[in-house]
């Protein structure tokens, strides 16, 4: 076969092949439901489809109590389904913000799901950021009795434990904490975790201290940073008047199931929910309004940064 033949062949089957390849990639990345992965489909199927849409194209949404603030960013109830979510912070000393964001989500999730949480930590996290403190968890509305905590010597062990946990039906969530970049925790490892979580139906959270740009196959990636707990001091106030609610700047830098966004959230201790900061306007427009899938899809292509 000479070159021109080859070229003509490619020319004729180009649209089909590209569609097919796209579908295959989407299948590998777990973006399509398994049963429709390899069957024939119209070209439009290459456009984005949410997970769990196996019954036609209607998106089902069950809000998680306490996380209403995050709802506008998602088109499906991402946290209730199996999937890998990453919370990262570039600096180890921001472990508080990272834990705050993660634990507020997990604590809310635990009220909606039965079972325990498997919490795996590596030695670096234990040394630099310390243990999750049970009385503190209790004040966040999370029962420490539901935590099984595992310390792993090596990252390989940590990943193995997380994968085992993701397959266990008795767990409500799996949390893994690592510090710094690790050779073992690469794109392949996150893809494996994502698949296990998807198959097991367990939400898996990967908390990464001191990294920001590692490649990942996770469904979402949240970058957490601390935020002042109260408005700047007015002239009449004294500096030691006390702290406000815990607040964080959250940057959703990756979201397969909705759009990216940047928002400031507070943990409302009394209501046990994430709330908008009391003193400023929400950074994400459309709170409380649920746009249709087509609006979201178009908003996503336009990079989704509305402020």
């Amino acid at each position: 076969m000479d070159r021109s033949d080859n070229g003509r062949d490619e020319e004729t089957c180009k649209p089909d092949r590209i569609t097919e390849l796209r579908r295959r990639i989407a299948g590998l990345e777990g973006r399509l439901p398994l049963d429709t992965q390899l069957g024939p489909a119209p070209a439009s199927a290459a456009s984005w489809q949410g997970p769990g849409n196996s019954q036609g194209g209607t998106s089902s949404f069950t809000p998680v109590p306490g996380l209403e603030q995050l709802d506008p960013l998602f088109r499906t109830s991402a946290f209730l389904e199996g999937g890998l979510h990453e919370v990262v912070t570039p600096q180890s000393r921001d472990a508080g913000a990272l834990s705050g964001v993660a634990i507020s989500v997990i604590a809310s999730l635990l009220k909606a799901r039965d079972g325990l949480v498997l919490w795996v930590m590596d030695q670096g996290v234990l040394r630099e950021a310390g243990m999750p403190y049970p009385p503190g968890l209790l004040r966040f509305g999370m029962d420490p009795a539901r935590v099984v905590c595992v310390t792993a010597r090596r990252t390989e062990d940590l990943l193995w434990a997380m994968e085992e946990g993701a397959q266990c039906s008795a767990l409500a969530a799996v949390v893994g904490e690592v510090r710094g970049a690790s050779k073992a925790l690469d794109l392949t490892a996150t893809r494996r975790l994502m698949l296990r979580a998807r198959i097991g139906g367990t939400p898996v959270f990967l908390l990464r201290h001191g990294t920001e740009f590692e490649p990942t196959a996770a469904m979402t990636r949240w970058k957490a940073a601390p935020h002042a707990s109260a408005p700047p001091l007015l002239s009449g106030q004294r500096p030691h008047d006390g702290l406000g609610r815990a607040a964080w700047t959250v940057n959703l830098t990756r979201n397969r199931d909705g759009r990216e966004g940047h928002l400031i959230v507070e943990w409302s201790h009394a209501a046990r929910k994430l709330a908008a900061p009391a003193y400023s306007l929400p950074m994400v427009s459309g709170t409380g309004l649920r746009p249709g899938p087509e609006v979201l899809a178009s908003g996503r292509t336009a990079s989704g940064k509305t402020s």
Binding site: K111, L137, C168
Partner: protein, 500 residues
């Protein structure tokens, strides 16, 4: 000293110079009691192949209780011959005997000929042996020799009372024990396994797959035995006896009673996967034994039509905890246990998940008001009603989300000695305090915290905790150790926790 040395007329306890003078080509090695004890331990491990009841006997002997085991090796005579022959092949200089009492076996092994003493013949066998064969102290032997009593026969026929009053009751007791007139329990090195199964190989095996296959079939045997006892195993031991005498033991524990050969095998497989070096086949194994070290009653579950999902999930969780524990180590898989203490760092304990009882883990209700966890109607109603900003102040988030243990010392500057810090340096970074709350004073319990205790004694010093926020919004938990001028002249600061 070996037989050749004895042939030259040497004796133990002789000065070395004299011995060298008589036998110039004498080889001398310095005694190493620890190494000898370790070697004896290895030999004892090896002897486990004959009976699980192996006891160390002094620094140079082993006692094997072969009751009920001898027929497996073709009788007591064949057993004794097999033990001695195999040990001699390994290069040891051994002597041994089988008898109805440990005392008689001890005496014959050391002072008699290699033989099997039939029950009832103890007296005849012991009678011609020297008194040292009774395991009595050297001084007693010398004292008896002074009066012309040299063999066991000499004292066995004598009245007991004068012997006991003159040489102590120990002599009579040991004599009775040797003759079987008084009980003499031996104390084995390890507890007897509850159930065990073993397989011997004519041709040694060494492949991991083979070992797994054998473990599975042994597992089936012990599970059957456990099933008859209505028990499940909590700790299993796989002992691999290598051809060259080394014995490798792998122990796994479980969180729930287990009676499933496949899952037992899976636990051992995890252990092997985690550390390949556990197994060093060398020239292969000729005996594999699986034993249940600990068992617990485990009645079969009553199958129910409604609650089935729950018990399956429970079994799933137990399996997960076992697998994690087998690979990572049981102590690395923990649950958080509440501890009723005053100091923040001792208010919880991480206990192995495999050992903890679910009822012990009740955190809710410990910390004052019920915090409305879970899905109770009361809690959700309150959530709806509560004005977030109002109720939040009644229940402050006064404990950090992460605890750094041990607390890290920081260099802090405060405006007044008793006041909150203005600036502090933690891990070489300077933080400026913008907001703070405190102090929350946590004093040690009165029975520890005597005011005259030295300041180094950390438990004995009052702590003033501050919750602070820096310019960027990071929230930390700091404390000042010691009351200024009452407990210490220069209070030190520590960072103990990180708030959300």
């Amino acid at each position: 000293m070996n037989g050749t040395g004895k042939a030259f007329g040497l004796k133990a306890g002789e000065p070395l110079a004299d011995a060298r003078a008589r036998v110039p080509h004498l080889l001398v090695e310095e005694a190493a009691p620890e190494l000898e004890a370790a070697l004896l331990g290895f030999i004892a491990d090896w002897c486990d192949r004959y009976t699980p009841l192996v006891a160390l006997d002094g620094s140079d002997g082993l006692l094997l209780d072969v009751t009920g085991c001898a027929h497996l090796f073709g009788g007591e005579k064949a057993l004794l011959a097999d033990v001695l022959e195999r040990l001699e092949k390994q290069g040891f200089c051994v002597s041994g005997a089988v008898a109805g009492t440990p005392g008689a076996a001890w005496a014959v092994a050391r002072f008699g000929t290699r033989e099997v003493i039939e029950p009832g013949n103890e007296f005849a066998a012991l009678a011609p042996l020297p008194l040292a064969g009774l395991r009595i102290a050297r001084e007693t032997v010398q004292a008896l020799e002074h009066v012309g009593l040299t063999t066991i026969a000499d004292i066995a026929g004598r009245p007991r009372a004068p012997l006991a009053s003159r040489y102590g009751p120990e002599l009579v007791k040991l004599l009775d024990q040797a003759l079987g007139q008084q009980g003499d329990p031996i104390s084995p090195r390890f507890a007897t396994p509850v159930v065990m199964a073993e397989r011997r190989f004519f041709d040694p095996i060494g492949l991991v797959e083979d070992i797994k296959a054998v473990t599975l079939s042994l597992g089936r045997q012990i599970c059957e035995a456990l099933g008859r006892r209505v028990e499940g195993g909590r700790a299993f031991e796989l002992a691999l006896f290598r051809v060259d005498g080394a014995v490798q033991k792998i122990v796994v524990g479980t969180s729930k009673p287990l009676r499933d050969a496949k899952r037992i095998l899976a636990l051992f497989a995890e252990k092997l996967k985690a550390d390949e070096s556990v197994l060093d086949a060398g020239f292969g194994y000729d005996l594999v034994r699986l034993a249940v070290l600990e068992a617990q009653a485990d009645a079969p579950d009553q199958l129910s039509l409604v609650g089935r999902g729950r018990s399956e999930a429970e079994a799933d969780l137990a399996g997960l905890i076992d697998r994690l524990g087998a690979r990572l180590g049981i102590e690395r898989v923990g649950r958080l246990l509440p501890v009723d203490r005053h100091l923040p760092e001792s208010q919880f304990a991480v206990v192995p998940a495999a050992t903890v009882r679910e009822e012990a883990l009740s955190w809710v209700g410990l910390s004052g008001p019920d915090l409305g966890l879970g899905f109770s109607e009361h809690a959700s109603a309150e959530c709806d009603r509560a004005e977030p900003d109002g109720a939040w102040q009644e229940l402050p988030v006064d404990r950090p989300l992460r605890l750094i243990e041990p607390a890290e010392p920081v260099e802090a500057v405060a405006m007044v000695p008793e006041g909150p810090p203005l600036r502090f340096r933690w891990r070489r970074v300077l933080y400026k305090v913008v907001r703070s709350e405190g102090p929350e004073r946590i004093a040690p319990p009165w029975w520890i915290g005597a005011s005259d205790a030295p300041p180094e004694h950390r438990d004995g010093v009052t702590r003033d905790y501050f919750r602070i926020e820096d310019e960027d919004g990071r929230r930390f938990w700091l404390y000042r150790e010691g009351l200024y001028q009452r407990e210490t002249g220069a209070p030190r600061w520590y960072l103990q926790g990180v708030f959300a």
